[in-house]
């Protein structure tokens, strides 16, 4: 059984690594910045070991409650803010996912970021990012969770804007923070509303997560109370997990270094949103309105984002829309009550999406560009990147027997059997998204690795080559090894952790049952149907981008308006930035108030001042300086007062 101190160490190892890099290495020993990378790897590696220990301990306890350690932190009246650790199956799994993916990313980064002048700063942020995510999943208190939630947002801000001298990077970082903060506003309101309803918790501490669970399961939260709390929390999750309509920041987040994207998209930032809904799942279950909202938003986002992925030319943007779409899958799973499958999909997705991102980084390392129109033919030059990217693509497309197949199948099966209209709707949305997913990822795959090489950075007018520019060869071993490790995960993680038949060492449906969730039986018909749909998507991509039987150009021309809407991302960036922020808030409301402040409020004050000065001037005429005159006035005054006194008393 794991000790409390060991669990805290999972958090403090990367946090200490951050502190050492930020306070010692970066300011004083920047010549030895290389040490920052090794320190981070050691710290995250240690966290991974301890996380596996934590997972084993939770598993060993079998059914039942979570491990809980709580300490006083701050108390003001009824606001009793504790901090602590809540270690349950969900936390344990998230810990392993976050630290494992982070470790791979850190190793990979030693190659990818080699020679960058901000090397030490990069690893400082990466350590803090990992620590924040660990703190988020460990939190036993909703305010504590919010603290780390925001720190995760901060780190993504710092890392997306890592190359802050690039205006696009600085703008993307700002956008990520502000758009997610709109969601955080909802989360904050949910916290306030929970505290507001503290009397209905019957003596429980309304800020403790376990107590919120108890209150929700005991039915202490009335219908609308649970609904509002759940919707507020979901608003936060929508921001972090880039669900429609708060998804616009994620594609722009590509401006950060590619390993950062891998971490953000697989294990930290965006996973936090799904984790948040899962963490407060009992509250969601207490409100069918909230559940249906989650399902519909997730299902819609799955399809909506996938549709934009169809037409992007930047390989990282394809992957970004893919992430949004896959997060929609997870959300819709949670929304139809499929808690286990939702987290299962998060688990498998972490492997193959980190793999795909790091593969795209490897490609970029060789070609100097992310634009697939200038790639092609990389299969021969980069065999390892090619092979692992293929595995990742097949896993994402959901083909038997890779990891993505098993988790996606469970999600679809649960949506199918949900029984209500919502389940039907999101099932068909998801199935359509499956087709698009396999199409766009194999479109990317064929454009990148097959055919002839089309020049890379030398041909691309818009790129600023990272590293050495065009040199078509396999990336260094410290970048290829993590790809291999993740590829193994992308193959095995599905069947191995959640087998459909008893494997002996792993019992049937181990993963979902470990999470305390019900697992649907394997449905061969559904699995076959979804595989056919996925295969059809791959086939179409093959026809258009490999054998060129179908002309992509002709198709995009004949679908002109649709293609334009998709490649312009449904004009949502324009709607938000131009009409919402620039013309609405900045050019409209703020401008109007600024005018009011200067032309009305301040003018009023100065006018009053002007009157005061001029009245003063008028009165000054009376101050003649003649003592006789003063004497007369004073005498009259005294007589008047005396007169009044005599008359009235």
């Amino acid at each position: 059984m794991i000790e409390e101190s060991a669990v805290w160490l999972i958090l403090f190892l990367p946090l200490a690594s951050f502190a050492v890099i930020a306070l010692v290495i970066r300011p004083f020993l920047n010549r030895y910045a290389i040490a920052a990378g090794y320190l981070t790897i050691a710290a995250v590696g240690g966290s991974l070991m301890l996380s596996i220990w934590a997972l084993g301990s939770v598993e060993g306890r079998g059914e039942g409650t979570e491990l809980l350690w709580v300490h006083d932190w701050m108390q003001i009246g009824a606001f009793d803010f504790n901090i602590g650790i809540m270690l349950d199956p969900l936390t344990a799994i998230m810990l392993v996912v976050a630290t494992a993916v982070s470790l791979m990313v850190q190793i990979y980064s030693t190659g990818y970021m080699k020679g960058d002048p901000g090397y030490a700063r990069y690893y400082a942020y990466m350590s803090l990012f990992t620590a924040s995510m660990i703190g988020l999943v460990l939190a036993s208190n909703i305010v504590q969770l919010f603290v780390f939630w925001e720190l995760v947002g901060l780190c993504s801000f710092l890392l997306i804007g890592f190359w802050y001298h690039k205006p696009a990077a600085a703008a993307a970082a700002k956008k990520a923070f502000i758009v997610t903060r709109v969601g955080d506003f909802g989360f904050l309101l949910a916290i306030m509303y929970i505290f507001f309803n503290r009397d209905s918790f019957g003596g429980l501490n309304p800020l403790e997560i376990t107590d919120i669970h108890s209150a929700a399961t005991l039915g202490l939260l009335g219908g609308s109370v649970a609904t509002w709390i759940a919707l507020g929390i979901f608003a936060g999750a929508m921001g972090k997990s880039a669900q429609f309509p708060l998804h616009t920041w994620l594609p722009d987040a590509m401006e950060g270094p590619t390993p950062v994207s891998a971490l953000i998209h697989a294990a930290t930032m965006v996973a936090a949103g799904v984790f948040l809904v899962a963490r407060f799942f009992p509250v969601f279950e207490a409100s069918s309105t909230a559940m249906n909202t989650v399902a519909i938003v997730g299902g819609f986002t799955a399809l909506f984002a996938a549709s934009m992925g169809l037409v992007m030319n930047d390989i990282k943007r394809v992957l970004a829309y893919s992430t949004i779409s896959q997060l929609g899958f997870m959300m819709l799973a949670l929304g139809v009550g499929a808690y286990g499958p939702g987290i299962f999909h998060l688990f498998t997705h972490a492997f193959f999406k980190a793999l795909l991102f790091m593969g795209s980084g490897s490609v970029n390392h060789a070609t100097g560009t992310f634009d697939m129109r200038y790639m092609g033919g990389l299969r021969k030059a980069m065999p390892w990147t090619y092979a692992t990217f293929l595995i990742g693509s097949l896993s994402l497309a959901g083909l038997f027997p890779l990891a993505g197949f098993w988790s996606k199948d469970e999600v679809l099966a649960d949506a199918w059997r949900h029984g209500e209209l919502v389940g039907q709707v999101v099932f068909w949305l998801a199935l359509a998204a499956v087709f698009m997913t396999s199409f766009y990822i194999f479109r990317a795959f064929f454009m990148t690795f097959e055919g002839e090489f089309r020049g890379g950075a030398d041909a691309d007018p818009d790129t600023e080559p990272h590293g050495e520019g065009v040199h078509l060869e396999e990336s260094p071993p410290e970048m290829v090894w993590p790809l291999g490790v993740l590829a193994v995960g992308a193959v095995l993680a599905g069947f191995a952790v959640n087998p459909t038949t008893d494997l002996g060492i792993v019992p049937i449906h181990w993963f979902t049952e470990f999470l305390g969730a019900h697992a649907e039986d394997f449905n061969i018909v559904l699995a076959a149907a979804s595989s056919l749909v996925a295969a059809a998507g791959i086939g179409l991509a093959y026809l258009m981008y490999m054998s060129k039987r179908v002309s992509a150009e002709a198709l995009s021309l004949s679908l002109g308006p649709v293609h334009r809407i998709l490649s312009r991302k449904y004009y949502m960036d324009e709607a938000y930035e131009l009409y919402g922020v620039e013309r609405g808030i900045y050019g409209g409301l703020a401008r109007g108030l600024d005018w009011v402040d200067r032309a009305v409020v301040d003018r009023f004050v100065t006018t009053v001042g002007w009157f005061a000065v001029n009245i003063g001037g008028a009165l000054r005429q009376a101050q003649t300086g003649q003592l006789q005159a003063y004497g007369v006035v004073i005498s009259v005054g005294i007589m008047a007062i005396l007169g009044l006194y005599l008359f009235f008393l």
Partner: protein, 507 residues
């Protein structure tokens, strides 16, 4: 309960800067000597204010560290006392003033014009503010309140920039106007209760026959505090004064002088007029929401760094108002959370905005411009200043782990149960704040490095000292807030309890 004694500690804290000012004026010659002497003195003053804070015992109710002479002015009909003491509300404010007093002296190291005179005024200012936070006799309170104006006027109008005379005069007129109303209020209370003792006043007001309607007396005081805080639409002196004041004076002005308004609202408006403040709480929360949102929106439009931060102060002071408005309570129960949040907000805003003004001042000295459009790409050349500005900015937008978050969430949790919709509306301020802060960082620090700033330098060691002190204060409160929130809670609990008793006893 009679409060007596004379420990001398608070007397030292209040008058040490004044003594230093006199010594500088009379004996210290040479600009460098003046700076070093003033620096050493404010370090000693900071040490004393830390001692005050540490000595304050949250377990003991009421006022502590009392310095009191009952017959200071020995006229029977005019019972003015010499009475200094701290409670949980004022002890952290003493610490804040000590900290920012030190910062402001170090921030003035590059003042080259009439140095001796400058430091004399700066030190007198510190005595005045310390006096306001510790005086418990209305007569003394008023003296200190007005004393603060004199150095401020000279500091802005002589060492300021831009339209400095205009701004100094505007500041003076606004504040004097408020002070005049407050004087009438103090006299009205004195003629009603025959005492200037602020500790005896709450009970005395309840029993004595008042010479004026209680609502009017409340309004006289409240107007003074509303100008000082400031509340919209009485805020227009603030952006002008801040923009044209020298760096150190902006630090003091934003850091502690605004807090005199909030302090007065809690100590006097809420502590002495519980019924009235409950009646007008709706007005206070409305003003708070306007301050937060209006302030944030106007901030978005600002093009001058100092003016931008000045308007952000208007927005952040709205949170103080919102916290104060929670005193009306709900269902006869008044929770101390909102008032503690308001006090915390004063403290944290003092450190955060003090830091912001300090950094902007340094950047102005180096870049010779405060116009945001001219700046950009500074992070590469000035990593220390840039890192500190990022930390201060993030604290200002209420990022957890910094002090800004602690005070904002406390205000929100404390007030949401009383004023749900207004609080929710004001909470949207966190999005707007993120907008203007991050946009500010983007435009000044990020982006490609500019030709004209190719040789610009980073903070020197001496400049880094006050920066480091404030960064530590911002992070310490953010990470372990209990050491300061416990003190504030001890300070505001008697106030919330008395309001609650009156609410229960009421009709």
């Amino acid at each position: 309960m009679e409060i007596t004694g004379f420990g001398g500690l608070l007397t030292a804290v209040v008058f040490l800067p004044l003594a230093g000012a006199i010594i500088i004026a009379l004996f210290v010659r040479g600009d460098r000597n003046v700076r070093v002497f003033a620096g050493a003195l404010t370090l000693a003053e900071l040490a004393l204010s830390i001692i005050v804070f540490v000595q304050f015992d949250t377990g003991t109710p009421g006022y502590q560290l009392v310095d009191k002479f009952e017959d200071w002015i020995p006229v029977d009909t005019f019972p003015v006392q010499y009475f200094l003491a701290v409670d949980g509300l004022s002890a952290p404010m003493v610490l804040l003033t000590g900290l920012l007093g030190m910062v402001s002296v170090f921030a003035s190291w590059n003042v080259r014009d009439r140095v001796r005179e400058y430091f004399v005024w700066l030190l007198i200012l510190q005595t005045a503010v310390m006096g306001v936070f510790t005086a418990l006799d209305f007569f003394m309170f008023f003296l200190f309140w007005e004393l603060e104006l004199v150095p401020m006027f000279f500091l802005i109008s002589i060492w300021g920039s831009g339209r400095k005379e205009y701004s100094a005069m505007k500041f003076l007129i606004f504040t004097i106007l408020g002070g005049a109303f407050m004087l009438v209020g103090i006299l009205a209370l004195f003629f009603s209760t025959d005492t200037f003792d602020m500790t005896a006043m709450p009970a005395a007001i309840q029993t004595a026959g008042l010479v004026m309607p209680v609502g009017l007396i409340f309004a006289l005081f409240f107007l003074a505090f509303a100008i000082k805080l400031p509340i919209w639409p009485l805020h227009t002196w603030l952006p002008d004064a801040h923009t044209d004041a020298p760096t150190a004076v902006s630090v003091m002005l934003a850091g502690v002088l605004l807090k005199m308004g909030g302090y007065g609202m809690i100590r006097i408006s809420a502590g002495m007029f519980p019924e009235v403040i409950s009646d007008v709480a709706w007005l206070i929360v409305t003003a708070g929401v306007i301050n937060v949102l209006y302030g944030a929106l106007v901030t978005l439009r600002q093009t001058d760094l100092k003016r931008l931060i000045a308007f952000s102060s208007v927005s952040h002071m709205g949170f103080v108002l919102i916290g104060v408005s929670s005193v009306v309570g709900v269902g006869g129960v008044v929770s101390p959370v909102g008032l503690t949040g308001a006090s915390l907000q004063m403290f944290t805003h003092g450190t955060i905005t003090g830091l912001l003004f300090l950094l902007v001042g340094y950047m102005y000295e180096k870049a010779h411009t405060r116009y945001i459009a001219d700046l950009g790409g500074l992070a590469t050349r000035m990593p220390i200043l840039a890192s500190a500005l990022v930390i201060a900015g993030l604290a200002s937008l209420g990022l957890p782990g910094t002090s800004g978050f602690v005070s904002e969430i406390t205000v929100f949790l404390g007030t949401f149960e009383v004023w749900s919709w207004p609080t929710a509306l004001a909470a949207f301020g966190i999005v707007l704040t993120a907008g203007y802060i991050l946009w500010l960082l983007q435009r000044t620090l990020f982006g490609p490095q500019k030709e004209r700033f190719a040789d610009i330098g980073d903070a020197t060691f001496l400049e880094a000292v006050p920066i480091a002190a404030l960064v530590i204060a911002v992070l310490a409160v953010g990470i372990y807030p209990a050491f300061i929130s416990d003190v504030f809670t001890a300070g505001v609990e008697p106030i919330t309890q008395s309001i609650q008793q009156i609410a229960r006893a009421g009709p």
